[in-house]
């Protein structure tokens, strides 16, 4: 069938205003804010309901058209830029907040709901509840975040955001609509088990197994008071001990660490940023006192937080995209790698070396996930979008960092195509075989985000 006929059929499903193959629309969807080169797109479609998604998937399956679901499009690693052309399914019109269960503490939402939208809705209507929010702009979707093993606020205390999924509604590649989690048995979307847990299949598989249209995510009690307590360290080798002691205190809602060579006053320091919470200012003060003591005992020291810095870190979500303008060029990408705590010192040292070799100001940070069970280390590389050589330089730095992360026993997170390839090279062959067999079973025509996680 020719392209115009396909477009007509897509238009019949979602309405002509929300299906396009116009060059100016496809241009934007052929690239993301990261360093991946643009790749062509044939159609962009914005469904409003699960029925529409189902019809689109059936059409794509029949016609053998690749299909790539997209949320906020902010992974920076090109995960929603099609590798083999086809349809980008921009999910942001499916933006209903269906239910907030205040007692069982979950939000049932459509997959186009942004983090900003849910955050704002809860702040206004359920101010005692908070959702998992990534360190991404508020235009990122909740679904996009949790489905890539996202991390961010509350990760230290409660684990990665993927683990906060209670249930999913998924359109499978054959068009079947499947409910996973307690919602497959009960009217409550309150828990993931106790049944065979298939939800994990849809996390970090980057849309290769189905399209999530609805999800339930855990919400958490929001303490009345919250503050940041900064610590300063100077040696990478001290980081594991500092983080262990901080988390063992049980006082930290979240923990970040970071280092950056610019501005000059930051050079030479590792910043430890601990979020403490409580029901009163007295409680915050008491917790701060304990943390000061921990800093002293772990070769770090307490830093009084300047108001401007405090304001930056108290914003939720923090505006992390400032890195995009470091080289006055509108771009940055990072390798965010899950790395075991014991190898963090080497990760930082190696990251600094890579940055310097590429003439990029070292900018490395970390978020603790599930106390110290995992540390997501991000090695950020800014580039000038208007300078192709600078972008290539960033891509090379990203590649070297992927290698470093894997060498250190870590795994690049939401890896771009090249990173996925490196992970697959190291992966247990039977893991790959199992994944391929699941994928081939669910998607025999290989229409779902082909090119990603390709096991040959």
């Amino acid at each position: 069938m020719n392209q115009d006929n396909i477009l007509n059929l897509l238009g019949n499903i979602v309405g002509n205003d929300f299906a396009s193959n116009k060059e100016e629309d496809l241009f934007i969807y052929s690239q993301d804010p990261g360093a991946s080169p643009p790749r062509p797109v044939d159609y962009v479609v914005m469904p409003k309901s699960v029925d529409e998604v189902q019809k689109i998937v059936k059409l794509a399956n029949k016609e053998g058209i690749p299909i790539v679901p997209m949320g906020g499009g902010l992974t920076l690693s090109g995960l929603v830029i099609p590798v083999e052309g086809g349809i980008v399914l921009d999910m942001k019109r499916m933006d209903n907040i269906i239910e907030i269960n205040e007692l069982s503490k979950y939000a049932l939402i459509e997959s186009g709901v942004t983090t900003g939208q849910l955050l704002s809705y809860l702040n206004e209507n359920y101010p005692n509840l908070q959702p998992p929010v990534p360190d991404a702009p508020s235009a990122a979707t909740i679904a996009g975040n949790v489905l890539i093993h996202g991390s961010g606020y509350l990760s230290q205390k409660y684990g990665d955001h993927g683990s906060m999924i209670n249930g999913l509604e998924v359109v499978l590649p054959n068009g079947d609509i499947c409910k996973l989690g307690s919602c497959s048995v009960s009217k409550y979307w309150f828990t993931r088990g106790p049944i065979p847990d298939l939800i994990g299949l849809f996390i970090s598989s980057f849309g290769t197994l189905g399209i999530v249209t609805k999800l339930s995510v855990k919400l958490f009690y929001k303490p009345k008071f919250r503050d940041v307590v900064f610590g300063l360290a100077t040696e990478y080798k001290d980081i594991p001990n500092i983080l262990s002691k901080v988390t063992e205190s049980g006082l930290a809602e979240d923990v970040l660490i970071g280092m950056q060579d610019k501005p000059d006053w930051m050079k030479g320091y590792i910043f430890v940023i601990v979020y403490v919470t409580g029901e009163s200012q007295d409680e915050i003060d008491a917790n701060t006192k304990v943390l000061k003591k921990i800093y002293r005992k772990t070769n770090a020291r307490y830093m009084k937080t300047p108001p401007r810095i405090r304001e930056i870190y108290m914003e939720k979500p923090i505006f992390a995209a400032t890195a995009a303008d470091f080289r006055k060029g509108g771009g940055f990408e990072y390798v965010g790698a899950f790395i075991p705590l014991e190898n963090i010192p080497e990760a930082y040292a190696g990251g600094v070396k890579i940055s310097k070799n590429h003439g990029i100001v070292p900018t490395i940070g970390s978020r603790l996930i599930g106390q110290t069970h995992t540390v997501m280390v991000f090695f950020s590389y800014s580039f000038n979008r208007a300078d192709p050589e600078d972008m290539e330089n960033a891509r090379e730095a990203l590649h070297e960092t992927n290698l470093l992360a894997l060498e250190l026993g870590g795994i690049p997170w939401k890896a771009e195509l090249a990173g996925q390839k490196l992970i697959l090279e190291k992966m247990d062959p039977n893991y790959k075989k199992l994944f391929k067999s699941i994928r081939d079973t669910l998607d025999p025509n290989h229409i779902m985000n082909p090119g990603n996680w390709e096991v040959k």
Binding site: E23, D90, D325
Partner: protein, 390 residues
């Protein structure tokens, strides 16, 4: 607003990261961008427009009617500037869109409807975008017994002079009663519609003409009741090298000044619930938010209530940036959303300080039978008894 030459914007436009803050209100509770809210493809966000424009500059995509349509489907309300987090260039976002439109126009891709603005304005019988026979305002001068030379010029603006005559006449009555020494000129379009739609060829001539006429009147001060004229005279003239050294006032500023100096005293009440709609050109583009509100609050009997999105966050009326002429149906849909927001406040009067907003809000009010009274601030004052101490 510092994008004055090609280098300024071509060296900066690629710095947009497309993070998406430009689409939302400051608390993310809603979209603030009328264009993104309507069309929903990423293309129609400010980030999308900037990336498309950079794509053209970079040679990745060629100018086309489609790209021009994307650029023109934006009321240039400036909400994106308020929420973009990149402080080094967020104040330039509307300028980027306007210069990109000028580039599209240079390359032959100005949409047909917007071309009418240029055709009509440059027609020597009109000199206004409404294709109305040009008024030299001599009849009004006679009616209001205005001198040829005065301290002030009331720059009426085309919308007030040809479409919102009640607003114009209310302003004339107020100025007269307030004892302001003012006159009118044979004004031509201030060029706002041309600037907003990237049709720049006659702009400087029009600006010079208007300034010459004002100077000939001996005036040192200019007052206007139009937010669009105000923004243009205050900022765009200078930007285009027409530095006029005139004191610029919006009517709300003068009224407030008279109230503060105890020269104006209201003697009757306006016992209605009023909500104020911030015009983009007066608010986000010129930074005037509180002056009109202070005036409303000083009107006896008035119950001034705020819409959820107000001041920097105000939802646009949908008329600006060439959208009213380019997309008439969508334009009043945008106003409808504003009126629905006004409904939630319990107000019966929606008031603004811009004839263009007044037009579009009234059009939506009528088209969707919303039941509001739509009035300019000056029209409310015109309904009151007041005393001016000279």
């Amino acid at each position: 607003m510092t994008v004055q030459n090609e280098k300024d914007w071509k060296d900066i436009i690629h710095r947009c990261f497309r993070c998406g803050y430009c689409k939302f209100t400051h608390d993310y509770s809603d979209f603030n961008c009328p264009s993104y809210k309507k069309f929903r493809f990423e293309t129609y966000s400010t980030g999308g427009r900037l990336w498309l424009t950079f794509g053209v500059i970079n040679g990745d995509i060629e100018w086309s009617e489609g790209i021009a349509n994307v650029l023109y489907a934006c009321p240039t309300c400036g909400n994106c500037m308020e929420n973009c987090r990149f402080e080094k260039f967020n104040f330039m976002l509307v300028d980027f869109i306007e210069v990109a439109r000028a580039e599209a126009n240079k390359n032959g891709f100005c949409p047909e409807n917007q071309k009418f603005l240029l055709e009509r304005t440059t027609n020597e019988s009109y000199f206004n975008p409404y294709a109305e026979k040009n008024s030299d305002n001599e009849d009004l001068k006679r009616k209001y017994e205005l001198p040829d030379e005065a301290e002030w010029v009331y720059f009426i603006g085309c919308t007030s002079n040809y479409r919102q005559k009640d607003l114009r006449d209310a302003t004339l009555r107020f100025l007269k009663k307030a004892g302001i020494d003012f006159t009118l000129i044979d004004e031509h379009c201030c060029t706002s519609p041309l600037l907003r739609t990237g049709q720049l060829s006659p702009v400087k001539d029009f600006m010079n003409y208007n300034i010459q006429k004002i100077k000939e009147s001996g005036a040192k001060k200019v007052i206007t009741s139009c937010a669009g004229c105000y923004r243009t005279l205050k900022f765009d003239f200078v930007k285009h090298g027409v530095d006029h050294n005139l004191e610029l006032y919006h009517t709300s500023e003068l009224v407030l000044q008279l109230l503060k100096e105890d020269k104006l005293k209201f003697k009757s009440e306006f016992r209605k619930t009023v909500t104020y709609h911030d015009p983009c050109h007066l608010g986000r583009h010129s930074g005037i938010y509180e002056e009109p509100r202070e005036v409303y609050k000083k009107i006896p009997g008035i119950n001034l209530v705020e819409m959820k999105r107000n001041r920097e966050n105000a939802w646009c009326c949908g008329a600006g940036g060439g959208v009213k002429i380019g997309y008439p149906e969508w334009s009043i849909e945008i106003s409808k959303e504003r009126l629905e927001e006004a409904k939630q406040t319990g107000a019966t009067v929606v008031s603004s300080t811009c004839p263009f907003c007044r037009t579009n809000l009234s059009d939506a009010n009528n088209a969707f039978d919303m039941g509001f009274e739509v009035l300019d601030l000056v029209e409310i004052i015109d309904q009151l008894d007041y005393e001016v101490i000279k």
